[in-house]
């Protein structure tokens, strides 16, 4: 698993993106998801159709939903078919999402923020 890899969950069908480098820190892998709706008053990061094959309409990333997981746990969920791998995001999109994460870092759970900071990503 690498930064930029994606997978889709089986229940809600959200696309999850690996934001941090699992090789650098396999204990704190940061993932964020695409969603079409938010109860937040402001959008954190907007992704347009065409930026990834999964995105068919205006899509958002809410950094408050970021998760910080163990790489082994994510691999277990993939093996257990809870998560289905999809195409990785482009380097440009990954960089843009990371840049948004930096500007909205006050919304990230502290563990996710610390992992991204320790890797110099935000």
């Amino acid at each position: 698993m690498n930064a930029g890899d994606t997978f889709v969950d089986g229940k809600y069908g959200h696309l999850w993106i690996v934001l941090s480098d699992p090789a650098a820190d396999g204990e704190r892998v940061v993932i964020v998801n695409f969603t079409t709706h938010s109860t937040e008053k402001e959008d954190d990061c907007i992704v347009q159709p065409g930026e990834h094959p999964f995105v068919k309409s205006k899509t958002l990333i809410q950094f408050r939903d970021a998760k910080c997981c163990r790489l082994a746990d994510l691999e277990t969920l993939v093996k257990g078919t809870y998560l289905k791998p999809h195409k990785p995001v482009t380097v440009d999109l990954l960089n843009r999402i990371t840049s948004c994460a930096s500007s909205k870092s006050h919304k990230l759970p502290k563990a996710c923020k610390a992992s991204l900071e320790d890797q110099g990503l935000i």
Partner: protein, 202 residues
Amino acid sequence: MFQLNQRKAVEAAAILLRLAHERIMDRKRLLALLFLADRKSLEVTGRPIVGGRLVALEFGAVHSEVYDLIKGSGRNQPEWSRHFANESYRVVLTDEPEIRALSDREIDVLTQLSDQWMGYGTWDVARATHTEEYNKVYRENTSTPIPLEETIKAVGRGGQKDAILNDAEEKAYFDKLFSPEHALAVKLANALKAKHSPKKTR
């Protein structure tokens, strides 16, 4: 309903107690501040910080599961008891938890509330939880649940009620899906399945 995030409850209580004189606080005051923080967060972001069941008691609105933890009868009591002790009706922070589940934004809400109520007595803070939704459901000498729908309306987010309720369900699913406990359960289930599946014969 937004399910209780016990890790956040531990961290939020620790932050409030850190800001209190000698890291000790009347349990009513702690419960009231947690309620007010959740309500503020729901108003501003559409989500509470701690979540869980809210009930209207005589002295005010409280998180019933956090109240159980303070009384020593919570569902995951050891996690709470590692960090807090009771001195009569007061809660003491005895061991600092690592802050990892809360965000800086949530910490700001807690800190601002603590500042806002600094210098006020416990009963003043408890009375502040006698909000519109509290007054609507409270019945004398009872512990009445406060429906999330009522709080959503009372904080002025009634127009987004369905979206917030759906978000609560979705959040509960993903919190569980990506929890280490779930990954362990899947791993064990896979191992059991492999052990009991018929061996292939040549």
